[in-house]
Amino acid sequence: MIDHQPDQRPAVTKAQNGPEISEYFNTFMSANPSTGTIVFEVHQDSPVRGRIPVPNALVTISRPLGGNYFISKVVITDENGETEPVELPTVSRERSLRPGEGRASTTYRASVEAPGYRRQDIYDIEIFDGITSVQHVDLQLNAGTRGNG
């Protein structure tokens, strides 16, 4: 029953009231039939040691579906401060190949947390069909934290 393994498919969080979650989810998925990829590179600019990767940072990628439902996925950085590539739903590539086709990408937000660092929120991460996006995150030390970096 207790299974915190990151799911391969985007998880869907249940809200208290409102329409069925599957409605929101299906609407979102039919508007975003394609897939793009995101990789996070998390590091810190230490005055002493220079740029150092931050391992074990928790990256929560999300997007509101409506009705307080969110689509989200959690990943953790490796020793190079990099997350695994995460596939996310987005609009079809056709929309970006001709002008006037409306929104050409789907945007997500992310929050990045690691012990000893200030949480950082990033908005409007653009995901395009078939393209890998790389998001650099420069974490700042928590005020009052000693002996780190």
């Binding site: 005055p47 220079g50 050409a104």
Partner: protein, 455 residues
């Protein structure tokens, strides 16, 4: 960074300062490395799904636009403390902290030191552009480039379509930073020299912060197997094509990352000047120098003299005398570079590349040796056909000579091979390091031929 006032030759700055607003608006200034700036602009201005030729044409326009602002000191000359703004009314879009697209990032790493120039003029072209749908302008239309790329036009033709026939692309522009510009030839397994020693040092420093990069044991200026392993790990982590070769893109990526992993302490106190690095290589070789490395240089000079029919062919003596200087001058004349008779990095780079390209066309009577030296050092950890060939020769030599230890044919330059090469060097050459350069190569091949052709 010091601001260099109107240099004679345009250059790529190490960093660029962007004002996040209209010029007169109070706003934050952000300083980023030049390649990161272009990645950001390209990711903000373009759709990464566009055909590659369209992306390249647009990126060249963006680079030229930014370099024009820097070269003409457009804002600095008006008293502002930035190089460019992120206002699309005046300049190009830049969104602080945004994501980059990996395909765009790779193109930028490859071409950020190129720009467009109008023939007969020096400055980077003021390459104006607009989207071509919502806004019409004189200059490049972004959506139009997609159309042209779909018709099969290459980036240069796309740029000519908008900026005129009389434009050129300038490549390998010097990068004005506290590091050397790309040496113009790729560093790969078996190449050697001062640049290799510096890169090894830098990779080892980066590996302290990025432990997935294996440490290089001997920082000796020879591109060894563990150097290649470190380069591959670096390329993997920093999203470059993983080929183990240091071309333009990997060279600059290592330099920029090295600069960013250096802490302040190192910047001010421990920072290691390249000339302090322990390396058997001088930055230049000239008349009066002598030693095993001069012999190596002389080998290349002789080989290329044979190829071009330059006479007299110099003897490989290990002493850089007037004949060597004269031969270097003649080669420099062929290459169209200053004829000072000194083997500097540029001259060496040209000779090295030239040899690699023409190794199969060097006349047989040049060394009376076949097969001829392949053009790269054969060193511990390497494994290829030439290692196998040399092992075959050493096996045959060991049969006839009890001073040379017998070896097993493994195809890899392992410890037993190094031991046999050292023994061979001790016996047949004055000195040896267990590395096969042209001198050792020639001696092994000659000895083998003597044995196999004997009655």
């Amino acid at each position: 960074m010091a601001i260099i006032s109107r240099p004679d030759v345009p250059f790529i700055p190490e960093t660029i300062t962007v004002h996040l607003g209209d010029p007169d608006q109070p706003a934050e200034n952000v300083t980023v490395s030049f390649p990161d700036y272009i990645k950001n602009v390209a990711s903000s201005e373009l759709y990464p799904t566009w055909p590659e030729a369209a992306l390249r044409a647009n990126i060249l326009a963006q680079i030229s636009f930014a370099l024009n602002r820097i070269y003409t000191e457009w804002y600095r000359a008006q008293g502002y403390d930035f190089d460019i703004t992120n206002s699309t009314k005046f300049d190009q879009s830049f969104i602080k902290g945004r994501d980059f697209f990996q395909n765009i990032s790779r193109i930028v790493d490859e071409i950020f030191d190129s720009y467009i120039v109008r023939r007969g003029s020096k400055e980077p072209l003021f390459a104006a552009y607009c989207d071509g749908v919502e806004v019409e302008c004189e200059g490049l239309a972004q959506w139009g480039t997609v159309e042209l790329a779909n018709q099969g036009r290459i980036p240069y033709e796309i740029l000519q379509h908008y900026y005129g026939e009389d434009i050129d692309l300038v490549r390998d522009v010097p990068v004005n930073a506290n590091f050397e510009s790309y040496p113009l030839y790729p560093l790969r397994l078996g190449t050697f020299g001062r640049e290799v020693a510096i890169i090894q040092h830098e990779l080892n420093r980066i590996a302290e912060n990025y432990p997935a990069i294996p440490k290089i044991v001997n920082v000796d200026g020879i591109f060894s197997a563990d150097t290649e392993a470190a380069v591959r790990a670096f390329q993997r982590i920093f999203n470059l094509t993983e080929d183990g070769v240091i071309g333009n893109a990997t060279w600059y990526k290592i330099k920029y990352i090295y600069n960013s992993v250096k802490g302040l302490g190192e910047l001010f106190s421990e920072g290691i000047a390249p000339e302090e690095l322990e390396s058997p290589f001088e930055s230049v070789w000239q008349e009066g120098d002598f030693g095993v490395w001069v012999r190596l240089i002389q080998y290349y000079i002789r080989a290329l003299s044979c190829y071009y029919g330059i006479t007299p062919r110099i003897e490989i003596t290990g002493r850089f005398g007037p004949e060597t200087t004269e031969a270097v001058r003649k080669l420099q004349a062929i290459y169209g570079i200053p004829q000072d008779g000194v083997v500097d990095v540029q001259t060496w780079g040209r000779m090295y590349q030239d040899y690699r390209r023409n190794v199969n066309r060097i006349p047989a009577d040049c060394f009376n040796i076949s097969p001829i030296y392949p053009g790269y050092l054969i060193y511990r950890g390497m494994g290829d056909n030439n290692v196998r060939l040399i092992q075959t020769y050493l096996q045959r030599i060991a049969q006839a000579d009890p001073d040379i230890p017998d070896i097993t044919l493994t195809g890899v330059f392992d410890e037993q091979t190094a031991e046999a090469v050292r023994a061979f060097d001790r016996k047949y050459l004055e000195e040896g390091q267990g590395i096969i350069g042209p001198i050792t190569w020639n001696a092994i091949v000659a000895q083998y031929n003597r044995l196999t052709q004997a009655p």
